[in-house]
Amino acid sequence: MSTPTNVRLAGLHARYQFIETVRVPIAVIGTTLFPTLSLLFFIVPQSFAQDPAAATAATAQLAVFAVMSVSLFNYGVGVAEERALPWDGYTRTLPAGPSPRLVGRLLNGLAFVVLGLLPLVLLAWLLTAATLPLSRLALTAVALLAGGLPLFAIGISIGYSLSTKAALAVAQSLLLPLAFGGGLFLPPETFPGWLNSISMWLPTRAARDLVVTATTGVDLPGTTLLVLGGWTLLAGSLAVWAYRRDEGRRFR
């Protein structure tokens, strides 16, 4: 047998972290079913559900919502919880550096994003007029990942800088303003002007516009990439700072 490589170790950490999380029913329901339920209750009964463009945009919005709730809860609250457990420190005595655990955490979050998207996309396809031509699938995946970057980073910042209780409070208080304000529940076309101008500055709105463009081909607002880049830089720096500070406190 050979010495485990970092890639194998990252896979090992991701696999067991996934098992750990998936066995907590509320974590799975909260992050994966909520977007699908929103689709069932708020989109499917509406008349625009039979309009391909509107239904596709609505599904895209909820897909961004799925990414956001995984970011806030799996990365944010989940990492804060894990850090509080002595098991986390114990894994650092094993012959693996910090990176397999960190990469494992990131992969675990991505797995939950996929878990959240599968039922959403399936039901949107079955019950609404939403369409996604195969040619747009890869583009949409890239848009979701790119749009998700600042959201992932916000989650990781929360997870590595706050206690479990504080992380939960912050995640919950960010969830709705970011979702409504970013046009993830109601299409931004229905926003009054003042709300729309605030919305344009939110990372969720930028992510939403990017994914709607990727799925439907509507024009991308000129500010989207700028706002997205700015938030990614800001939240990314915060995440790196929070991770390093946590390392310094617990492992130095």
Partner: protein, 302 residues
């Protein structure tokens, strides 16, 4: 002899608090070393330094000839998580397999579980185990990578007598097979039963380091307890304590001491004579303000 782990003048401060103060310690291959100290003495910090979880503020720490913070140095090391630290939703076999995945040639899971009396619990989630089962699982994972050195932090706290003895047997078997152990314990009898070498730490410093007999001999061999009003000057008393009419006297020759008490017609009662144990030595070494026994260095260990 190969030195598996070593600290040299290792000091660790947390802000204004000095948890470890210039500790120098060698752990040679094959030794079973018991680390004793009151709560907050610095034992956990010392183990954290050896396991690479923390780095010393000054001084050096070596594990298998290198920096324990380098993951490759920890391939021959086994550690225990705290009992409360097991991921509650993982099953017993998953906990073992996760840890095993980090090592080149791990012990097969069924074999390990059998060694630690956990057979039949493979599919139980660790959150549903009893305290004793959790404790055994945490100790078991320290051995899964066939380590050359294990650090056991309070391995039997919360175990009943039978489980404790079973665990001692497992540690002894490992040691007889050539394994090296550094063990901390609240139970002095555990250290007496297992350790060849005892290191007493208090307030971040090594107070004593030697064989069991060495450390025991730091206090006079006999302890005499009695109740009496004032005692006169008695020959052969090396150390004494008084609490009201209760007296504790340490001496090399308890028979001579008792004879003196009788001849002097001291109205004593509740006489007790006991062999000073490791516990006596430990208490004498770590009692606050006790200056009777000067701290000794590591020389007697070698």
């Amino acid at each position: 002899m190969e030195i598996l782990a070593r600290t040299a003048a290792a000091t660790r401060r947390y802000g204004p608090v000095t948890a470890l103060d210039g500790v120098s310690l060698d752990v040679p291959a094959g030794q079973l070393l018991g680390l004793l100290g009151p709560n907050g003495a610095g034992k956990t910090t010392l183990l954290q330094l050896l396991a690479g979880l923390r780095r010393p503020t000054s001084g050096t720490v070596e594990l298998f000839g290198g920096d324990p913070r380098d993951a490759a140095r920890r391939r021959r090391l086994g550690c225990t998580p705290q009992e409360t630290g097991l991921p509650p939703t993982l099953r017993v076999h998953e906990v073992v397999e996760f840890v095993a995945g980090h090592f080149t040639d791990p012990v097969p899971t069924p074999e390990l579980l059998e060694q630690f009396g956990l057979t039949g619990l493979e599919r139980r989630q660790s959150g549903g185990l009893s305290g004793g089962q959790k404790r055994r699982l945490t100790v078991a994972v320290a051995f899964v990578g066939r380590p050359d050195l294990v650090l056991l932090d309070e391995p039997t706290t919360g175990l009943d007598v039978e489980a404790r003895h079973a665990l001692w047997d497992a540690v002894r078997r490992y040691h007889q097979g050539g394994g090296t152990v550094v063990l901390t314990s609240h139970y002095l009898e555990e250290v007496e039963a297992l350790a060849e070498r005892v290191v007493v730490i208090d307030q971040g410093q090594v107070r004593a380091d030697g064989t069991l007999a060495d450390v025991r001999s730091l206090v006079p061999a006999r302890r005499v307890r009695l109740r009496a009003p004032d005692l006169p000057e008695l020959a052969g008393v090396e150390r004494s304590n008084r609490d009201g009419d209760r007296h504790e006297l340490w001496t090399a020759d308890s028979d001579a001491l008792v004879r003196q008490l009788v001849t002097a017609e001291i109205p004593f009662c509740d006489l007790e004579v006991a062999t000073a144990s490791l516990e006596e030595a430990f208490l004498a070494l770590t009692a606050p303000g006790t200056q009777t026994i000067a701290p000794i260095d590591g020389e007697m260990a070698r």
